[in-house]
Homo-oligomer: 139 residues x 3
């Protein structure tokens, strides 16, 4: 039984979904991890981690459109506006989704479904640098 850690840095170009399934798969493969549990933890409060369909890009467009309507930028309800009208909406979107994912690894592969991809969801409108801690425990 062993563990492995990695810190993945991703540069975003502003609001939107950024897939990084390949980066996680490559790290699992490079480290020869055969079976166990991969945990991803995003170290920020205005972005999310999400597992969603990676086939039709319209799904990402529609997810973004739905969340933009549900949590409106500049909503007068919000008083925390220090960093602009997308500041508090970014925190609310993060609360409605998650910053933790746990995915079993079997036979050297993440046990994702055929259409599942792993995404960083940037909720701020401006580009940001984001850090994700990746942890593995198993064999």
């Amino acid at each position: 039984m062993r563990q492995a850690f990695h810190e993945l840095r991703m540069a975003t170009r502003g609001r939107g979904l950024y897939e990084f399934t390949d980066e996680v798969e490559a790290w699992v493969s490079k480290n020869g991890l055969r079976s166990g549990l991969v945990t991803l933890h995003l170290r920020h409060t205005s972005a999310s981690l999400l597992i969603q369909e990676n086939a039709d890009p319209d799904v990402r467009r529609d997810l973004e459109a739905f969340f933009a309507r549900l949590v409106r930028d500049g909503d007068p309800l919000f008083i925390h506006t220090a960093e602009g009208d997308d500041d508090m909406p970014a925190h609310v979107r993060a609360a409605l989704t998650t910053v933790n994912l746990s995915i079993p690894v079997n036979q050297g592969r993440l046990t994702l479904g055929t259409w599942q991809g792993i995404y960083l969801w940037e909720h701020r409108k401006s580009p940001h640098s984001r850090t994700i801690t990746i942890h593995f425990i198993g064999e």
Copy 2:
């Protein structure tokens, strides 16, 4: 320290909450798992995993009613409608909930609260076959 894997298949009869706490408990018991961590990963993007009250069935009815109103089938906002008017709402519901659960096991039992049940939440209106990867690490 050891690991165990299982692939659980569930046939749904369309939209709704399907409890499978007993199946997970039975698997933990059958494998003699005493203490550790159980992780459930649903391998789909239009259904969710949820821990919720398993006493009054009205809670499931109300959860479904709330989500149906929040994410309307046939909403003209959506352009990804390839599989019907419940296609994109199913992806949004999955994003608003989760496809991963991690539950500690102690003294041979899941550490669920008295009223907590584990559910597969089918978001599509038609019957589907769903697969959940179950992983255990511990003793």
Copy 3:
């Protein structure tokens, strides 16, 4: 490789966000846990666990205001009202967030971001006693 368990009890004073990052850090430190995975599981269906900003208290005020508007107490949609007009809204809020968190531990510290705190989000208006199972696996 070893495991550790703890049952954390928290008394809430009604609806709101209660930070307990220090309690988790102190437990990790006291047990000499160096590297591994901490999993938190809340054993209730009308409260949540949340990782969010712990700097400006306005963020918590705005999160609460947004959720109160999104899931209205006394909404006539709900039929499960046995414990009052905040009963079913509490279940919906829990479904929209989560009751599970998994955070890697590295060099004896939780790998939280600079601004991340761990919160118990009480969704009921009256004070409650809540229990969180904490599990560690690693070294």
